[in-house]
Structures are given as C-alpha cells and as structure tokens.
C-alpha cells in the first residue's frame, strides 16, 4: 500500500489485503536500518487471519522516501500521521528493537491511538556503543558487521536457519547495504538518545531472546517494572533477530497477545 505522509511516499505492507474498517489493525514497526519485510512471516499471518496489517517502511528505509527521521519522538509522531493517511483510528503496535521505542513513545504520548504494544527485543535505555555509533556515522562497513553479528545469537552462523535455504547473516548484510549513507547512524543515535517519558498503561508484551547480544533480557527489566501488568516471553535460543531466528515462537506469542 502506498501512502503519502508529509508529501513523501511511504510504503506499508498489507499482506495483499485492502484495509477493512470492520477489522482491527496491527501495525509493525521495524528496527534500525531494516524494513517491513523483517516481519515477513508474522505480518503475513495476521493479514490472512482477520486483521488489517500495516508493516511500514520508516522514512529512508525500504520503499519509503527519505530522509530518515532523527529522533524516536519524531518517528512516533510520523507514525500517527501514517495511521491518519491510512484512515486508521487506532492500532495494536508491534515493534522490534528501535521500533519498540517508537511503539513505547506512541503508547506514552498518544494513548488513545494505541490499543496494546508488543515489544520484541527491547531495552531501556537502548544505549548504543560508541564504536558502533562512530562506525555508522562514518558509513563504514564495520557498522554493518557489528549490526549483523551482534544482531543474531552466537550460534546462528554455525547452525540452521528455520527458514529453509536462507543465510541470516547474508540477508542482514544485503538489507543494510541498501541503506542510504547516514540512515543507520540516524537510527542508532535516535535509539541511544531516547528518553522514555513513562506512563504507558495499555496491555504490553515483551518478547525477548535469551541470547540477545544487543538487548539482553536483563536490559529490559527496568522498563518492564515501569509498565503495570506487562507480560514477558523469553525465547531461550534466540538472539536479537527473533522474527528470523524464532519465527514460530514469536508468532505464537503475538497470536496469544493479540487474540
């Protein structure tokens, strides 16, 4: 689905369905440097199981025109304008990594538009290491290397991909190589600088990977304590890229949460 937000082209994957006003909407928000297809299996499932799906490409990512936005609150405000463009009043938000911060900020500052939030691979603060930030600022390939290697569980390069025939490292590198210079740095800096205002009251689910090297479960604990009634699912064998590393476990958790 092609939208116009701030007079710029925006792409939202809808799992090949028209939006239907009688259905609930689930909105997927990708992480730093990635795009809507990071949620490929999960977004497709909900699109074929009675939901409106909007898996957005943030500005400067995937099929959406740039430039990239510079702060998480700016991304959250943009997200609401994207919902307006799609004529969707409210939605359940599913975020991954940086996308979890956008979901959190929406839920904190625009509660009426957010029905519930699922946070996949999150931490607060989501502090990004100086070496990673600096490599991204310089648009060095080593930033892609850090994103790729730390973005998966340690056993991923020496193990099997649940998606037959695919090589997770290669897929991540190929996605990152498509980014315009500066986009990854903008995303990482926005994540690192984000200050959560608190006050989220909607139903919240954390989906975390026990082997996550970027946002380990312990780094989400303080955030969980700030959200009353938040639930948590920890997937033992997964790293940061849970939708690829543990697609069925993530989908099962989302089905249960969004039911």
């Amino acid at each position: 689905m092609n939208l116009q937000v701030d007079a710029r082209a925006v792409f939202a994957y809808t799992a090949n369905h028209e939006l239907d006003a009688s259905k609930r909407t689930v909105l997927f928000i990708h992480g730093a440097g990635l795009d809507h297809s990071w949620f490929g299996l999960q977004s497709r499932y909900f699109g074929y199981h009675g939901w409106n799906v909007l898996a957005l490409d943030l500005p400067g990512h995937g099929r959406s025109a740039g430039p990239a936005l510079q702060t998480v609150p700016a991304m959250a405000d943009w997200l609401l304008r994207a919902l307006d463009a799609a004529k969707v009043a409210s939605a359940a938000l599913v975020g991954h990594s940086m996308g979890t911060l956008i979901a959190l900020d929406c839920a904190a500052r625009h509660a009426a538009r957010v029905e519930r939030i699922a946070l996949i691979a999150t931490a607060y603060p989501m502090k990004v290491g100086e070496a990673f930030l600096e490599a991204a600022r310089r648009n060095e390939y080593s930033a892609f290397d850090m994103h790729t290697i730390w973005g998966h569980a340690p056993q991923v390069p020496l193990g099997a991909n649940p998606n037959p025939g695919m090589w997770m490292y290669g897929d991540t590198q190929a996605r990152l190589e498509r980014l315009a210079p500066g986009v990854l740095h903008a995303d990482l800096k926005a994540s690192s600088d984000y200050r959560f205002p608190g006050g989220v009251k909607c139903p919240t689910l954390f989906i975390l990977g026990r082997r996550d090297m970027m946002t380990p479960p312990r780094a989400a604990k303080a955030l969980q304590e700030q959200i009353p009634g938040a639930r948590s699912v920890v997937i033992d064998y997964s790293g940061h890229s849970l939708m690829a590393e543990a697609p069925d476990a993530v989908l099962d958790a989302l089905i249960d949460f969004l039911r």
Binding site: P157, A160, G170, D171
Partner: protein, 430 residues
C-alpha cells in the same frame, strides 16, 4: 570495543546450516529421506502453505538435508540464500526461468560449457528466449549486445575450455548500467578460489557435481542469490515485482527486496519445473564441501606442477592456463584469482587428432570421461564430447581446436601424474 569477527571459510564449510539434530543429537547431517512432513494441525498446514510459518511441506520444495547444503553454500558465497537443484543445468534453467519470459534476451559469454551453450542457443530459443553469444574478453561486445529486452548477462568465472577469466567487476558494471543482473557459473573456481559476489556479480550457480562434491558420486547444482540486485529499481522484472496469480497474487519484491528472487525460484521454479535435489545427493555433496578448503589448495598445487611440466614438454604445442604469462587473462587472473586459477586447463598436443587419440588411450591414471573436478584426475577431448554439437565457427569462438585436450587435475601424487602424461605424450609422437 573490538569489531566482531565472522567465522572463517573453513569453519563455515563444516558448520554453516546445520545444528546438531534436535531429535537424536546426530553430529553428522542426517539424511531426511522423506517426501513429506506431518502437519501439527490444519491451521499449521495452512500457515506453512501460505508462507506464514517457516518449515517444510514437501521435499520437492524444501528438505532439511538439502537446506543444510543450501544455507552452507550461501554462507560460503556471501549470499542471502540458495536453492539446490538436480544438476548445474537445472540451476541455470531455474535462474533464467525465474527472471524472464518469452521475448526476453540474454547476453552470454561464448566460452561456455557445451551443455549451457545448448540450453541457451537451441532449447530456450524454442521457448522464445534468445541469446547473443559474445567474446567474453571484449567489454565492448558485452555492451553492444545489450538490447531493450535483455534481462541477463551471463558468463563462467573461468570459461570452458579456453579458461577465459571473466572480468566480473567490469561486466557487472555494464550489467548494472543496463539495470539487469550478472549471473556467473562458478563451478571451476568454487567459493574457495573466487567469491563472485564480492566483485559485483548478482547471482551465481555451481555444478555441485564437480569440485563441491569432489568425489564424482553425485549430480547436483546450487543457485545462490547475493540479494544485492534491486529488482524494484529496475523496471524489467515483472516476475518479481508484479502480483503473481500462481501464488496468492504475491508480489515477491514487496514481500522482501533481498529474498524476492529465491522466493519465486522456490515457490514457482521448484514447484512447477520440479528439478529439486535429492536428500542423499545433498548429503554426498556436503561431504565434499566439508573439505573444500583442504582439497582446493592441493588441486591448485598439483595443477601448477603439471602445467609447468607440460609447458616444457616437446610434444606439447601450447598450454592454456591463466597463471602462465602468455595467457591473455594473466593479469586479470592475478587480481581475481590470487589463490589459484583452478585445476582444469587445456593444452594443444602436437600431431593433431591422431596424436590426441593415441595420447588419451595411452594414459593409465587419468580417466577419459566427461566430467571435471573429481578427486581423481580426468582427461577429455572437447571437440568430440562436451562441445561436439558446436559448429567449427563456434568452436573457434570458444577457443577450441581438434587438438585441444582438457585435463582436470585430481589429488593423486603429482609425480605419478606427470609420469603418466609423459608416457602418453611420448606414445602419441611415435
């Protein structure tokens, strides 16, 4: 904080794509000799069919043993994924059938394996796909041959049998200016000697029958996608960027820009053409891949010894190997193939067809057969075997004469190989 490190080639060759079997703990890759997989329930079945969950449905589409080989090859090549096929020819056909329809055009190197030449020159032409064959060494020829309906540039990393070294960076640049991908056949080099994606190629395939398997026991192919070609930015690939009625109106590039090609190749190509790899074959080829990093250096080392021996032999008119200074691609080989220019090469025997016949029939260690890349040394006379359907003019374009002999150097003691060659060469001159 230190930059993290990727596993090395040797480690990936042994481990990528396989976790110890969850059910049994088996360290070796189990051979899942099954056609199909039990669904948990009807909902699970529907989700697998509709690509909402990962997993296997039917072994023509995917199989756990075959998937290990696919992922391992993608890892070794630096691609996003791979599809294993019934043969190298099936991999080439799958690539072309995924990318284009009748009315399309391919620009191909003229220095090709005879089977690939047949497919492009005759068989695909019957289905409305035309090919222009050009001299791979002429960048102008590559450029001039491109038409508005061109959908692919294609060549072998080392041309067969003239060993033209494909100038991948330059040809890729020409392809990308025309908004089409470059497909290469990497059979002769394997990812150990050359990683075409690192030089700009977009797609590649191997006849896994050759060095990857390495033991002459199984026929197979593998098609790998770099995931780097932007199908959306080119307006030439409707099979990947428009709704496909044959699979839920899926727009493959919309599903994933990096996976679009492999999605269509698997969901349509394997499903409908059916040239999948058998699990036993995948297992056998994996046994070879696990030692590729040990075998290839030995293949190259022995080849260099044999090449030097032949280059100074009185019965040999010419040796064609890119590491020799008189080879037209010597400088390019130094750049693209620093670890070696492979273990297959040609030479011209003095005395023409009759001498060639006597030579081949006098060999004791070299086997006369239609294959390369075996652990055992092989010999072939291209003009009467792999290239026998080609006209004299096409043979000349491919750099072959009636006296050309092709050798594939195996892993025997290289002194035994040169002794065998010496005896046969002497016999050929009597």
């Amino acid at each position: 904080m230190a930059v993290p490190k990727y596993p090395g080639f040797d480690t990936l060759a042994l481990h990528a794509g396989q976790s110890p079997d969850a059910a049994t703990g088996s360290r070796a890759v189990p051979i899942y000799q099954t056609t199909s997989y039990v669904f948990r329930d009807t909902e699970h079945a529907a989700s697998l069919f509709n690509m909402e969950r990962a997993g296997h449905v039917y072994s023509r589409i995917s199989n756990p043993t075959v998937a290990v080989l696919e992922e391992r090859m993608a890892a070794l090549e630096g691609g996003v994924g791979a599809i294993a096929t019934a043969s190298g020819q099936a991999a080439l056909h799958l690539a072309i059938a995924t990318l284009m329809d009748a009315g399309s055009h391919v620009v191909s190197s003229g220095s090709l394996y005879g089977g690939s030449h047949n497919l492009l020159a005759y068989t695909l032409k019957r289905f409305g796909i035309e090919t222009t064959f050009i001299n791979p060494r002429s960048l102008d020829d590559w450029q001039r041959a491109i038409r508005p309906n061109t959908r692919l540039l294609f060549g072998e990393t080392l041309g067969n049998p003239g060993l033209d070294v494909l100038d991948i960076p330059s040809v890729a640049e020409i392809a990308h200016r025309a908004k089409v991908p470059l497909l290469v056949d990497g059979t002769f080099t394997t990812p150990y000697l050359l990683k075409p994606f690192a030089h700009g190629a977009d797609l590649l395939y191997h006849s896994a029958t050759k060095f990857l398997g390495g033991h002459g026991t199984a026929i197979g192919g593998v098609l790998v996608d770099s995931g780097r070609f932007d199908w959306d930015a080119s307006d030439k690939f409707a099979t990947l960027t428009e709704a496909y009625a044959g699979f839920h109106n899926m727009d493959f590039a919309e599903e994933s820009g990096t996976r679009a090609f492999l999605l269509r190749a698997r969901r349509e190509g394997l499903r409908d053409f059916g040239a999948c790899m058998a699990p036993m074959t995948a297992f056998q080829i994996l046994q070879g891949v696990e030692t590729l990093h040990l075998r290839m250096p030995r293949h190259v080392e022995s080849t260099r010894k044999v090449v030097q021996f032949l280059a100074s032999h009185a019965a040999v008119a010419k040796v064609i190997y890119p590491e020799l200074p008189d080879h037209p691609d010597h400088a390019l080989a130094k750049t693209l193939l620093p670890l070696g220019a492979g273990a297959v090469f040609s030479f011209e025997i003095k005395g023409g067809r009759a001498a060639g016949k006597t030579f081949i029939e006098s060999l004791r260690i070299f086997s006369h057969l239609a294959n390369v890349g075996d652990a055992k040394s092989l010999v072939l006379h291209p003009a009467t075997t792999t290239h026998y359907r080609m006209s004299d003019e096409d043979l000349k374009k491919a750099g072959i004469t009636a006296g050309t002999v092709r050798l594939s150097i195996g892993l025997e003691d290289p002194l035994d190989l040169t002794d065998d060659l010496d005896r046969a060469l002497r016999a050929s001159q009597k």
